[in-house]
């Protein structure tokens, strides 16, 4: 007896098959759902468009004009000349270099430090609640106060940083932290990371708490050491939160302003050593009132932020088929957890012994 290997095809002109009818019904429902969804989100989209698209469009428009009120009341259209001037400017590339240095340290260093702290605070130990509360302190400090505080700490004459280092015998003479471009940049990085660490840590800690403990227990039973548990359970488990943390930290780093302003008395000094691209935009727009050129810088910053965001999404938000270590099992039920179902015997038997391991 022959067994058909494919579904029987309906004769031409006959009634449509049940599968076709099902598909047609599904399509119809999908279209209806989509229309309903669009109707629901339309008001929000309009508001967002008004609040975001207009200023962005205006900035782009402004950047194509020579707009400096101190020079002339007329603001002629100059096409992309502001952009060509910008890309030919050494000042711009210096600021880009500083922004890149600042961002790489604060994004990679900040997120790594936050992950370490989150893992630490996720352990059971005496005083954990107090430690978690203390973690929030930097977050509760207003940005300007944060800047003033670090400026006083690193004051060249009376700062406590010098006092401590001298008492410890590490330095003989006071270090003028904010007088040298390199040390000023390091102080800036330090102050920024201190300010942003609580948010990143809390974000990652919330994500860590969604990872079922039994995964770690099972991995332990299978002999996975701490590093393997971190690599195969923790990292995949916090992948979503990690991606979000990297994206927002990248945005904040590129757009850093308030700490620079307070630490350097609004100058971006010394010798321009803390003038990042966003601060350059501020100086151009508000100090020099060169609004067309400043708008060009703002547009470049916007593109930079979009590209950085895309970079992280493409790197970490990659679907199945990407690096195997980051893939998740089918049937995962939450974004930030590798799997909420109990691990099966097969999973426990794997060498790494983890759910969320590559398929």
């Amino acid at each position: 007896m022959s067994i058909p290997t494919t579904a029987p095809t309906a004769p031409e002109g006959s009634r449509e098959s049940r599968a076709d009818r099902r598909r047609r019904g599904t399509d119809s429902r999908t279209r209806g759902d989509r229309r309903f969804t669009l109707a629901l989100v339309a008001p929000a989209v309009l508001v967002v468009a008004a609040l975001f698209a207009y200023p962005i469009g205006y900035a782009v428009w402004l950047s194509t004009h020579q707009w400096n009120d101190k020079i002339s009341p007329r603001h002629p259209y100059i096409g992309v000349r502001n952009y060509t001037t910008l890309f030919e400017s050494g000042e711009f590339w210096d600021a880009m270099g500083r922004t890149a240095f600042f961002s790489v340290i604060t994004v990679i260093g900040g997120v790594a430090l936050a992950l370490g702290l989150a893992i630490l605070l996720n352990q059971d130990f005496k005083g954990r609640t107090l430690a978690r509360v203390l973690l929030l302190v930097p977050w509760a400090v207003p940005p300007v106060v944060n800047g003033i505080m670090w400026r006083l700490i690193f004051d060249g004459d009376n700062g406590i940083a010098n006092t401590i280092l001298r008492n410890l015998g590490i330095i003989d003479e006071n270090v003028q932290w904010l007088a040298d471009p390199d040390t000023a940049m390091n102080v800036l990085i330090f102050a920024e990371m201190w300010k942003l660490l609580p948010f990143l840590t809390l974000l990652l800690m919330a994500s860590l708490q969604n990872i079922p403990r039994n995964l770690y227990r099972a991995a332990g039973v299978d002999g996975a050491n701490a590093w393997k548990r971190f690599l195969h359970i923790t990292l995949p488990g916090v992948k979503g939160a990690l991606m979000f943390a990297l994206i927002v930290q990248s945005m904040w780093s590129i757009k850093v302003f308030d700490t620079i302003y307070v630490l350097t008395g609004g100058s971006g000094g010394p010798a321009g050593g803390t003038t990042t691209i966003n601060f350059l935009g501020y100086l151009t727009t508000f100090s020099n009132l060169d609004r067309g050129y400043g708008a060009a810088i703002a547009v470049v910053i916007m593109v930079l932020v979009i590209l950085t965001t895309l970079f992280w999404i493409l790197l970490l938000g990659r679907p199945a088929g990407g690096p195997s270590r980051w893939r998740r099992k089918p049937g995962a039920t939450a974004d930030v957890t590798p799997s909420l179902k109990e691990p099966g015997r097969d999973e426990l038997a794997q060498p790494a012994g983890v759910a969320g391991e590559s398929q």
Binding site: Y77, Q176, S267, A271, P319
Partner: protein, 449 residues
């Protein structure tokens, strides 16, 4: 296989649509820019003021004033007295000086009329005046006995845009007690640059430096260089605003300033990170440095209750010159009227009220700033109240400049960055000034060309 952390397919379509919409908007903006007429705002550029304000007749109603936080006397009775005397209601607000420029620029560019009166000084009078954002005053609105330097602080290019609230210039303050301890005569302050360096060396012991200044931000670095440039007989600009600060005198001035830090080692290294005069004043008042070149308010800071130095140990003299006897930089401030104000007569009444004797006397006595009129400057009672007034009169016989101009902030940024490079020995004074001069020339040409 599931696709965790990836967007559903329908979202991908939405993203494309969103990008399309964004692109269309941006393109629309560009097209609008291409096709639209040239936008015109304000009355900036070289446009002459359309009309001047000269009378306060019919001044009534209410005004709002935005000032910096230099003068507490306004909050402590002057505003109230003005209201009682004129019947004009005043809403007076103070803001940090360092934040005020950007706030005013934002208000003016939006043609905002919220504030009728705003604080001004040499750079802003030129910058905002040139942009057409300040109301020009007629000659009948300006008192005839104003000090030239004070009037200069509210004027640009021959047009008066406001009236001064106090006059100010830097003079030398020194700690007499530290002079005695160093074996120096406290009644014979240094009169030349070499004497100053020698005194500063004698005053430098252990952690305490003989001289401290405030070069930690843009304006500070600029001020300290310009003062030294003037002391060496140099000028920022020549005829037709030609940049001259990188000439022989400029290079020598910057070399001498740098040498204080790197060769003579008499300049407190924290000078490169002190960002304002009040911090400098506090340092001097606490007896942590021997000599400062500071604004007249330094006297009040050093002699106030609780200050270590005190009145009897605060010495004051003209700044020792390098190739000239002395010179200084101006720091006078004033008030101007917002071009978009709805009540200009009442605003002018405030400006004029502040220049009058009762208010000026309070500013001199309670805050230590100099009066704005020659009549008051010559008043014996004023000199008795504020001994530094006599030094200011002596200093006024020599050059006192600030070089306020519409390009002040642009050039200041460029110059201060390069001055810092020279101070940090990242460039020689010649290299630093040549770099700054090349860029400053481009900037000035953009404004004047």
């Amino acid at each position: 296989m599931s696709r965790p952390h990836s967007f559903p397919t329908s979202s991908a379509v939405s993203r494309r649509r969103f990008i399309g919409i964004g692109g269309a908007l941006a393109a629309g903006g560009l097209l609008a820019a291409c096709g639209g007429e040239e936008p015109v705002t304000g009355g900036g550029g070289d446009a002459a003021p359309a009309s001047t304000l000269g009378t306060t007749s019919g001044a009534s109603g209410s005004i709002r004033i935005l000032d910096d936080n230099t003068n507490p006397v306004f909050l402590n009775g002057v505003v109230e007295a003005f209201q009682n005397d004129t019947g004009i209601t005043v809403e007076y607000e103070q803001a940090n000086f360092n934040d005020l420029h950007d706030r005013l620029a934002t208000l003016f560019s939006a043609q905002d009329s919220s504030y009728d009166v705003v604080m001004t000084w040499a750079a802003w009078s030129a910058e905002f005046g040139q942009a057409g954002w300040l109301q020009a005053l007629g000659s009948d609105a300006v008192p005839t006995d104003l000090l030239p330097a004070a009037l200069d602080a509210v004027s640009w290019n021959g047009t008066v845009y406001g009236l001064p609230k106090f006059a100010s210039a830097q003079t030398m303050f020194y700690n007499k007690e530290l002079f005695r301890q160093a074996g120096l005569d406290p009644e014979a302050p240094p009169a030349t640059w070499d004497e100053f360096v020698a005194a500063a060396k004698a005053l430098t012991t252990g952690d305490r430096y003989g001289f401290t200044c405030d070069m930690g931000n843009t304006d500070g670095a600029y001020q300290n260089f310009v003062r030294t440039l003037l002391l060496n007989g140099g000028q920022m600009y020549g005829d037709d605003n030609t940049v001259t600060f990188n000439d022989e005198r400029g290079v020598e001035a910057l070399t001498k300033l740098r040498d204080l830090l790197t060769v003579d080692k008499v300049m407190n290294p924290s000078s490169l990170q002190i960002t304002n005069a009040s911090d400098l004043g506090t340092l001097f008042g606490a007896g942590q440095t021997g000599i400062v070149f500071n604004w007249p308010s330094q006297w009040a800071a050093a002699t106030k209750e609780g200050a270590v130095v005190g009145r009897e140990n605060t010495g004051n003299a003209i700044i020792p010159g390098i190739s000239v006897t002395t010179a200084s930089i101006d720091g006078s401030e004033g008030f101007a009227i917002n071009q978009f104000s709805q009540n200009k007569p009442a605003a002018l009444a405030w400006l004029q009220y502040v220049t009058q004797r009762p208010v000026q006397t309070r500013i001199v006595e309670e805050e230590g700033w100099f009066p704005v009129t020659t009549t008051l400057l010559d008043d014996a009672a004023i000199t008795e109240t504020l001994p530094v007034v006599s030094t200011y009169k002596e200093q006024s016989d020599f050059e006192i400049r600030r070089y306020g101009s519409p390009w002040y902030s642009d050039v200041t940024q460029v110059l201060s960055t390069n001055i810092s490079r020279a101070m940090l020995e990242q460039a020689t004074p010649q290299e630093a000034l040549d770099e700054a001069a090349a860029r400053a020339t481009d900037i000035v040409e953009r404004y004047t060309g």
